[in-house]
Subunit: 246 residues, 6 copies
């Protein structure tokens, strides 16, 4: 089936990815990640405390908060701080980011310490949650390396690195009947199915969230989306490695 | 692989399902649904207004709210009304229920009218969101039939029923290495992967949410979970039909 | 004066009362009480902590929270958790329930332990606060018996039971000029005076709240309402005893 | 039975009452009322709007808000505006004040107009709600007279004054076994039963709220309290009349 | 340039000042201050605790809260406690009052103790924040003297009084082209520049806040306003001394 | 007096200024401004509505919101959206930014239209409010030019540009006894007096806020600070002009 994506991309083509470490100065990890026009600032902050439910257990915690600058979007959205609460979408996304990143951390090795990943969208063009997860992973590695450099962290189980494997995320969806990778805003607001895929670099799924916004999707369509997702995520792992090597 | 589920159920065995219509008196649809020890009261309320973003468009809206009585759970949770906000989990679930039910409604046929599905958990034993979706569907059908009986509703596109197809949901997960259907609380709090599957009775997926709480899951595990889900959902469709025929 | 109550009841006739213990599974006491069409789920939850102002004093605490499911009523009310605060009526009722139940408890015998009575209205047809008090008493007794069965509770002063005497509540009002017992919604929304009466089984008043919604009431009318209330409350004590014996 | 009240008052003796009209400048009615050491500023504000549920019905509304300055009390309480919500006690009291004052107003005569009674406690020594009701009545009369002076108000039904009869309130309680009138803080915090009585000057009860804080009270005790209340309220009516004549 | 102030005052003339100590009974310091029609009740409350950031440092804290009764103003404003939050103006003013008063206190001499200055506007006619600062100073002195009388306070550094020097505040502005002192509401709502000046009695500036509400102001205009402010503040110091001597 | 600023700057030396227009894509004006290590993203959003108090008056509105990313600072601050309210400092700053920018706009020329200036601090090193004002001015000009390009805006009074004159802001303070320009964080947290100066390019003061954080400041010190401020602001006007010409 022939397809014309608004951006002219091929169905299995990611937008240009850029990962810039050290974007701001104070955080233990600070990464500006772009998936095309989507730009998210991901900072990792180390705090020598854990939430109440973990106190005294010798384990650490990794959590995330997500925000969108009011004019990151086409039309201005209300500032959540001014409205006095975070919306359901925001809470849902930050819970997803937190779960995704915890999946690659040996929390015992962290010690009683919290790493908070703040993902703030400076500019939105679709895929902000997948960019956030992918960038937050790099910020997390930087924060853990900062701890290691200060000898503030124990080795993980069996001497392994406290971070076991990489985590990245991408979206795929069915746009005008064709499965496509890494939806931008124009596609996202006009697609039938939208799927967010989070994987580790061992090829396992960490999180899978698919929503039929128009027609329900079939097993073969699901398989097509997962194949696209795997392809895209492998490109993201390469971009993460390159950034961390830089 | 041999398996011992805490409940003694077979791996592909649902808990006993019961669907009681007309559970309370005032709502246009009122259903008490049980998945084993999980009991959710689902009411459908018709209101002749739509949210601002739909005003004047001639379309209706279907939305959901979810709540848990404070002592629905093993230990008492704070009352969200007293804390002054709904938690992230609550918002996430009610957004899911709303999306799932909208997937089977011809909103043009509803007219400028909102149907609100309130899903309140009286007793929780795992799977509250899947029970809520499955029960809310029945309450929704009752509310639409109430509208039809008053001749208050137009036929859907092409003369079809405003409700096109049924919607039901079930969970599946990997418990001690084995894929199992319809997790109860004992399994849910001790499983590696938890997947919520929402389907329509045409065999299409409406929503798929899988989370690796322990090890990441592989494609073959995903396929096993989806097969279980399809089996369970077909049993739920039968239970819904039986209740609506009753 | 002849009278026609909407329900056809005699002026001094209660609605049918039903008290079902063990309605839900997790709470230490769980009671579904019905006064006619009014159905309230009352759970008692034991927690081994007390509020700050009692810490270290060796006394316990009994408190209540009240809620109404959004579609317990004729037309749907906003969910208080979604609005972000409990309304004045809710707070007023839950304060009343807490005071009423504390009046029958030897808090020294409880030890440093809180019993929370959650009263959630599943269906409303007038008299929800009086049904809540009457049902919460039964749930409280069950919770205290649960503590006794675990030998977790000291005898009250002088070896008495930690619960000294029963508590029940009923409403009475002046409907179309005639004092009537146990107002239902149709009467409540169209009466001149509405009185809520809480008594113990020693014949003493614990709380008396009378409001003239139309004309102010006179001493003789007050006396008539109190006589009706005493009669109704004695029937409620019998229903409580029967339920607890069951 | 002999009695020694902390203040040396006789059992049926009110504290000194003072009612000062025109205490502040901007409000249509502004009254500083003192019951002994309790001082409440009551203002009546006229607004040419009604709440949504009355719009277009040609009726007015009377409502009240209650507040306590943080250091009106022996030890400083949190400022409710800073805590971000009004407490249950505050809401309960302001609902009571509103109901009490609506009982003496012909709302049809008000027209589509709201009178808000703000009762702010400058200094608390027991009985703030009864002082508030008694003072708010005077402020309300001043506001209605202000409207009449501008010919902005229709006559009430049958040409009567829009305010039909006076309203005042007092507390009575059982202190060390003896019924006493107009409890001050020392008595209020150490009494067995506390009753708030709101009456009109036709001798009818508008609101009656009695709470057993220690032992439950008997019918004869109730009668004693009501007799005290009637005596006190008649003194308050005299004080109101004197103030309004002044 | 000739000028006609709405009040008929000379350009450098303050409104009549009155400072009444002991206005309410419970607070350690309680002052009703009037600048003409502006009346603010300032109470000082001593609490033997400090905020978290000072715990264990042996220093005290001085802080302020500001409020306006709903009908202190020409038309009624919403009650902040009912709206559920303090507005920006309120927070800004209470932060200013707190900073201003801390500038005259030796916090080491206070010990681990907080003095809270509650400034509640009973009637507003312009200049509420400057009246609040000027009155709160007197209440603060009374509270410190109360502590001294109980021998609860150490001498300040070098044996000095814990309060070093007085603090007072006044506004000045450019009204119809002419610099004038102590703006009332009529001037404040119609002036080009509004400046609030806080000084100590050593002639130093503690806070200076000037806002051009119409045309930007020039250096010479600023100098004129500061000269007026100094004159006014010296009169306020005299009024404070007289009140404290009284 | 010799001085050693932590940054090695001369007493009257600004930090390097950079103003980057078009930093994000969606806003009508989008400017990233840096004062040394302080980086603020300022966006201007045009909305064809005005707040209620201006409706129907034919005038526009300019307002501002301010935020700080949680890890813009040395240690992570709570996210205001998660805490559920904006702090007093935030509200104070955004009110200041709004007032400052309104001072250079002919609101009649805007028509019934709001321009919202969102100033979000990506990295903080002192002077965020002055950088925000200076950058927001450039974003505002871009938004007004966008309106002009669409012929959506009338000429200002007398055919003048709707923006009359530039606005910029800088801080000055007394650091270790010496007046210095443009405080960075190290100086700001250790200075005696901190002054924020907002001026227009006609040499007039728009806002002046000076706070003695240690010793009160004298007239000659004030004069020194104002002279520094004027020098710095002139450099900022040059930077704004250069950016707008670019």
């Amino acid at each position: 089936m022939s397809l014309s994506r608004p951006s002219g991309r091929a169905a299995d083509q990611m937008r240009p990815i850029s990962i810039q470490r050290g974007y701001t100065r104070h955080a233990e990890g600070s990464v500006l990640i772009s998936f095309g026009g989507t730009r998210v600032l991901c900072t990792a902050s180390v705090d020598n405390k854990v939430p109440g439910f973990l106190r005294g257990k010798g384990e650490g915690w990794v959590t995330a908060e997500y925000g969108m600058l009011p004019r990151a979007t086409h039309s201005r959205s209300d500032r959540e701080a001014a409205r006095g609460k975070q919306g359901g979408r925001t809470l849902e996304i930050q819970r997803l980011i937190g779960r995704a990143l915890r999946a690659c951390v040996d929390r015992g090795a962290l010690g009683e310490r919290t790493i908070t990943l703040d993902c703030d969208v400076l500019q939105a063009d679709g895929g902000t949650r997948t960019a956030a997860i992918t960038g937050a992973y790099v910020a997390l590695v930087d924060a853990v390396n900062w701890l290691k450099a200060r000898n503030d962290i124990k080795p993980g189980k069996g001497g392994r690195d406290p971070i076991h494997g990489a985590v990245a995320a991408v979206s795929a969806g069915i746009y005008r009947g064709v499965p496509v990778l890494d939806l931008d805003y124009a596609e996202d607001s006009d697609c039938d199915t939208d799927m967010n895929i989070v994987m580790n670099d061992g090829g396992g799924f960490i999180e899978l969230q698919g929503t039929a916004e128009g027609h329900a999707f079939r097993r073969d369509e699901l398989n097509g989306l997962l194949a696209l997702g795997e392809k895209g995520i492998n490109e993201l792992f390469a971009a993460q490695r390159e950034a961390l090597a830089g």
